[in-house]
């Protein structure tokens, strides 16, 4: 198990490095610097700024400088918010996004897995059809369509919930964003769980367990749930990425000052160091979470561990 974990850990390093190189190159290939857009600066001022941000150095040297900063956890200064470092900006915005994302993910897992399991156990029943129709709708309607429609009906028309972030400070302002963010994931996980549960329930070892008189609940809980969760676990990586992507839209629509909104603004402002910092931060997060998923996979499936 330890060997397996270490191997996975080593395997994550090239991925991370690739992310950093790609993002770095992309940003540095951008036509025009961050300071172009405003008024033309005198040449010596521009040179000073360039020197201050080490833009005058050759690219490989800049990259190494950036990398060594990264190793110490330093993402560098922001081009736009001159008084702040990228670290500070991310540190301020991320906790809110994390809270939102974690709640959405938890909701998606609980609802998706239970709905999918229930549908699988009553295959072709009315319940199954309803769940699957809902799930198909859920994976088909994009977040940026669901969000405004929910706001329109639940907040504007019925006034059950607050529409925006700043209109209240109560916890109720979290409800709509979390539901919106979770909805496609609930749908996807429900479909995945149903398909995988039906597959597992048709395997021979389930027949054996039923032949042992263990009862449906025990058979599902003890014998079927673990293997049925493997595809769901594999989906966690893409799901995390999807929730991060979704949070960009959701934060924009609900006016939540999280990292997603920050990213879109930074991109609009051409605040390259901040954009680069956020991409590297998100990429690291995704790679690390994928690593956790891989290791969990090994915990559940004893045959994977041996490799």
């Amino acid at each position: 198990m330890l060997r397996y974990t270490l191997l996975r850990l080593l395997g994550a390093i090239p991925t991370l490095l690739l992310v950093i190189v790609l993002a770095f190159l992309m940003v540095h290939a951008a036509p025009g610097g961050p300071f172009d857009a405003e008024r033309a600066l005198p040449a010596d001022v521009e040179a000073n700024i360039a020197r201050a941000y080490h833009l005058d150095e050759p690219l490989p040297q800049q990259f190494l400088r950036y990398l060594s900063g990264l190793l110490q956890g330093d993402l560098g200064p922001s081009f736009r918010y001159r008084d702040y470092t990228v670290n500070e900006l991310i540190g301020a915005a991320f906790p809110l996004s994390l809270k939102l994302g974690a709640m959405a993910m938890a909701l998606a897992l609980v609802l998706g897995v239970s709905a999918g399991t229930a549908a699988a156990l009553r295959q072709n029943s009315t319940l199954d059809r309803v769940v699957m129709a809902f799930a198909m709708t859920g994976i088909s309607i994009p977040v940026f369509v669901v969000a405004p429609i929910l706001v329109l009906f639940l907040a504007v028309k019925l006034q059950w919930l607050p529409a925006g972030w700043s209109s209240t400070t109560s916890a109720s302002r979290l409800v709509l964003p979390v539901i919106t963010l979770a909805l496609p994931q609930i749908a996807y996980i429900a479909r995945l769980t149903r398909a995988s549960m039906i597959d597992v329930l048709s395997r021979d070892f389930i027949r054996t367990a039923r032949a042992q008189g263990l009862g449906t609940m025990t058979v599902v809980r003890l014998h079927a749930l673990k293997p049925a969760m493997l595809p769901v676990l594999s989906y966690m990586g893409p799901a995390i990425a999807a929730i991060l992507t979704g949070s960009v839209v959701v934060e924009e629509i609900f006016g939540i000052p999280g990292l997603g909104q920050f990213f879109v603004r930074a991109a609009g402002n051409r605040d390259y160091t901040l954009v680069l910092g956020i991409v590297v931060f998100y990429a690291t997060l995704i790679v690390l979470l994928n690593l956790v998923v891989d290791i969990l996979y090994g915990v559940i499936d004893p045959r994977v561990r041996q490799r």
Binding site: V19, A267, I278
Partner: protein, 273 residues
Amino acid sequence: MSLLGNPTVRVSGGIVLFIALVALLGPFLSPNDYLSTNFDELLSPPSFDGARFFGTDDLGRDLFVRTMLGIRVTLVVAIVASFVSLVIGVAYGAIAGFVGGRVDAAMMRVVDTLYALPFIFFVILLMVVFERNLLLIFVAIGAVNWLDMARIVRGQTLSLREREFVAAARLMGVSPARIVFRHIAPNLIGIVVVYVTLTIPQAILVESFLSFLGLGVQEPQTSLGALVDAGVNQMEGASWTLLIPGGLLALILMCFNFLGDGLRDVFDARHVS
């Protein structure tokens, strides 16, 4: 061919074709065009008067024609992007699977690495850093979506290569080219068709997501995502500006997803029987 015997395939395929046809012909038949503004008819609700089936937007432009144009752009982007991912994915996957061994291991290592990247952020970065254009959108979406196709085709090729009928063909002296085209390719088509169908809605999603963020198609051009974005700003007074493009977008996505599911059932059933 029992393709049309499957009701899911028939219905969802039919709806997609119908929408595509209306999007193609509708603008020619409508008396209105997508550009001209009419300040007497700002945000007027849908009606049959003057063929304003979908009403007008905040500049008084005809939303029916604009929506149809948006659908055209959305579909074209999605289909071209899926084609890009199809070509890259099938070629990459088939080579990895057919050559096998170390080449395969190295090629799949690359795919695994790319898989872990937060692509959407790279796409946003790409859109911000470079000048936006449709071509870039095709490439960006195609570049994101080919990974799945490559994995699936590679897995299938690998297992086909190990199948006994391929060994039988080798023993009979069948040439490698004939093995690929006569024995392996025909057995790949089913799964490729299914996944292309499922790639299209994903490409639509990415395109409309970018357009929604204002990073995709630019005014006066439009796409469903851009129309939804505009609709969100007007939804409190003129809910149709959001609901119509949003609903059509959802309908198209749903049809492609159903179509993919249905096709998979058809091809699965063939393998089982």
